[in-house]
Symmetry: C2
Subunit: 282 residues, 2 copies
């Protein structure tokens, strides 16, 4: 019977730790604060905002919401970001993407102060995760994968980690973070020849493909740990990951969807804000 | 008998192509120019400078030398860089590293204008190579590997590429560039378990380890292409790569040391300068 790597358990344990970290900062006069910038009222964004706000409050953070109408101009959004950059009481900033068509996303990414970039959208954060330096932050999703691995004490040093997906939001930063923990890292994608064979060589298999059942039973061995980043809707209309159910059962351990990686991302966001606040004391 | 992937042949062919590119730019009134900044008189730097200057001239580039004494202060060096940044007639800038102890290398990296960073030392270039965007440039050595692969038409799409080494100067940028060409990329290092077995799974094996004989005969299969980035001195005092001679002979093809990757880097530097000059027209 495969072990379930429970995201809710990881989030709860991490929240306890963060509460301590926040208290220590408050004792030094620093009150960690997250700004959330949303343009429009997309259901996904609103749901994530509720989750992030709840998590942030649980850890003792303050949250400031900046909601702009869907038809907001680029200049209006840039003005909000400039205000956040200049506000020393705000330590981290989450901007929901994608942005409406009238707004140039690249300009928005370039506008945010790297030290407040708690979801890894700036070039400075990208260079930071690539070069393994504490500049900016990686995106929250790959950080959430690493938190699960850490919580369940899954050994990475010398392990073969295989990442499916090469996006800037998950695959690439995940590969860099696994490398930072001394795993031997393989990055696979749609052009990979015999993906199942490559996957079977993994001690830890991380799937960020984006379609249901992409990781089938032939990909998995009984010694493997599966980290499933996919969030898909299956034929029955239910939420599911990239890993097929029979594949998950075959492994040593796996993260369920829902209740796995996705349950940790908002807590990681809070963690990044606290770290951003702590860095202001350096 | 293994095929030799001859760096001098690649450099000569690339130089012919660059001469055309330079002529096209000159026809449009742009005269590509490289600045070389050297602090002190290290033998390695002087040798590279001579090579780079010769190559640049062969491609039709102008070169401006900025030589500072070994005891130059950080402010003196930063003043030279500021001058280069401000000079529209200079398109690319090579700064020899490592710098003397009295100079903060991070400050120097941060000072160079990313658009003139033809050897990939700035955070902007790092983010560019990581995100596969045309911002700055990768370091010349991994670019030289890619030129050899391209010249000899070694198929990367869907191929298994294994990179030994995870440095910011070679391993990491090489992994990203191979990924950009749709290879399945594995990054190995000192903590890799059974490196020989991982290596044998490669169609293209790229060694940037930094010690002679690191890639032994058991790493290699007869179908493999070996790209050897190492420049070491062996027990007999001779220049050699990371790949043991008997391992190279076992492969389908290999880059010799000397005469392989190292023979292409200065030509790649010229290529980057020309591309930097071309971008000023965008």
């Amino acid at each position: 019977m495969a072990q379930i790597l429970d995201g809710k358990v990881v989030a709860a344990a991490l929240t306890e730790q963060l509460k301590n970290d926040v208290q220590k900062l408050k004792d030094r006069g620093v009150f960690p604060c997250l700004a959330i910038v949303r343009v429009g009222e997309r259901g996904d964004d609103l749901a994530y905002e509720r989750g992030a706000t709840k998590r942030a409050a649980a850890a003792g953070l303050e949250v400031k919401q900046f909601a702009l109408p869907a038809e907001a101009s680029q200049d209006e959004l840039l003005a909000v970001i400039a205000k956040i950059n200049a506000d020393a009481s705000i330590h981290g900033c989450l901007i929901f993407m994608p942005l409406p068509k009238q707004i140039d996303e690249a300009a928005v990414r370039a506008a945010l102060a790297p030290e407040k970039d708690v979801d890894g959208i700036t070039a400075a954060s990208q260079a930071g995760v690539y070069s393994d330096k504490s500049v900016g932050f990686p995106p929250c999703t790959p950080s959430a994968c690493m938190e699960i691995i850490k919580h369940y004490q899954i050994e990475l040093k010398g392990a073969n980690a295989v990442v499916f997906g090469r996006s800037l939001v998950v695959g690439r930063p995940l590969a860099m973070m696994l490398l930072g923990q001394h795993a031997t890292v393989t990055i696979c994608h749609t052009k990979t020849r015999d993906a199942a064979a490559v996957a079977r060589g993994a001690d830890v298999l991380l799937a960020a493909v984006g379609h249901a059942g992409a990781v089938g039973e032939t990909f998995v061995t009984p010694d493997q740990v599966l980290i499933d980043v996919g969030i898909n809707v299956n034929a029955e209309g239910k939420l599911c990951g990239d890993v097929a159910p029979e594949a998950a059962q075959k492994a040593r351990a796996y993260t369920p969807v829902p209740g796995g990686v996705g349950s940790v991302t908002t807590t990681v966001l809070a963690k990044h804000v606290i770290e951003a606040a702590r860095r202001t004391l350096d």
